[in-house]
């Protein structure tokens, strides 16, 4: 009886293995988010950290977990092509600095709220070299108020990176892009105007 069960199990595994493999990046993406969140909560929200220590820990995780340059380019939108190489280099650096200082400070207000990953499903990818998965999660502001957070994770083999985060259906990348484009548009299309603003922010 036990053998039959074992054979049945083995068969089931063989039969389901190909489909499992096809969608394994979604599973792996969900695990990637859960692990990253746990590490962030453990390391960055430590109240004993100084502001500088927290920012440097956040920067490390941000670089590791997010497609920082890809996001930065998307956020600059149509002005990416207009920017000079020097502007691009400075912009990429400032973009990271501003995100790091803003979000590291937000993490300092974390007081043990529950975070859970609820699953993942594949979404179409623009590139045939990449898989994209949408990882669904909930963050509990308080015991009865969950906030829906979706993580868009792109992967190439073993390389996993977050390319966008949506909170209650609002994409952070889209919001940042609309805002940056407005700053540049107001200044008559000059990317340098955005750099001035970002420089002011990154110092704080």
């Amino acid at each position: 009886m036990r053998y039959i069960a074992a054979i049945g199990l083995a068969l089931a595994f063989i039969v389901s293995a190909p489909t499992l493999h096809a969608d394994s990046h979604t599973e792996a993406s969900a695990k990637f988010i859960a692990t990253l969140a746990e590490r962030a909560i453990n390391s960055i929200s430590d109240t004993a950290l100084s502001v500088e220590e927290r920012r440097s820990k956040f920067r490390e995780l941000f670089r590791e977990g997010f497609a920082v340059n890809g996001i930065a380019r998307f956020v600059l939108g149509r002005y990416w092509r207009k920017a000079s190489d020097a502007e691009k280099d400075e912009y990429l650096k400032l973009f990271e600095d501003v995100i790091v200082s803003t979000w590291a400070d937000r993490f300092s207000q974390y007081t043990g709220q529950k975070f859970e990953v609820n699953g993942a499903h594949p979404v179409p990818s623009a590139s045939d070299q990449e898989n994209v998965a949408l990882v669904e999660s909930r963050f509990f502001v308080d015991a009865t108020t969950p906030v829906r957070i979706e993580w868009r994770v792109a992967s190439r083999g073993d390389l996993f990176k977050i390319v966008d985060v949506s909170v209650e259906g609002i994409s952070m990348a889209n919001t940042q892009r609309d805002e940056f484009n407005s700053v540049i548009h107001k200044a008559g299309g000059e990317v340098s105007a955005l750099l001035v603003e970002l420089r002011n922010r990154s110092g704080s």
């Binding site: 890809g70 990429l92 484009n181 407005s182 299309g189």
Partner: protein, 266 residues
Amino acid sequence: MSNSVFGFKSIRFAVVLTLAGILGACATTPSNDPEARAAYDEANDPFEPANRLVFSVNVMVDQLVLQPTAVTYRDLFPDALKPPVHNFFTNLFMPLSFIHALLQGDLDRAEQAAARFVTAVPTLLLAKTMPEKDPIFEDAGQTMAVWGFDAGPYVMLPLLGPSSVRGTVGTVADFFIDPVGWVLGTEASIGRATGNAVITRSRNLEQVRDLQKNSLDYYAAVRSLYRQQREAQVRNGATEPVQPAPTIGLELDDPGKGPKETASGN
């Protein structure tokens, strides 16, 4: 009663007049530069100068009236009574949601709205924290979206806040459609709107402060958030369609390739 109806109508009428006035003050359409033209089309905000003006007045009114009221409510109103009060105001939106869910042909959500309305009554009396059914929010703007109308340009309404041409038409339509208005009178509608504004504001005090502090262009940030939130509401929270982040790929962030070589490409 008829007086106050007239009063409320005059407010709406004033809104319409203001809008008409705004039309005269459109942002200048850029003509030569294709990039500027594309940015202008994408923002879809031809009334931007007027909208920014109204926005700054709204922000001022918020700082002077709404925010202090919301802080007082948050700090002085007993915490134990907040959930039932919140439920009460939420519940007053369910009849309108019910009608719009039906108009959208969404029987499930119509049923949910009705169920929420009914189940919340004993919950209110017993002052429990949460009714079992989640509330449903549907309005004429969302119904028009389901029917295929585009949102149209962005509109910043005095006091009522961010909207679109479609949203503004919807707000006016809902004033006539809303059963709460017929049954309880216009005072109840205004009371509900006011109560809801205070409650909502008391729950987003930190977020708004954070946004004001961290955004480079507060007006543009609010415009973007409003649009995305409305789209999410129209989808009823379903996962966004295929398109959203057009192409954020890993080509700049793959350590095997190195960001520099591609950074200046494209």
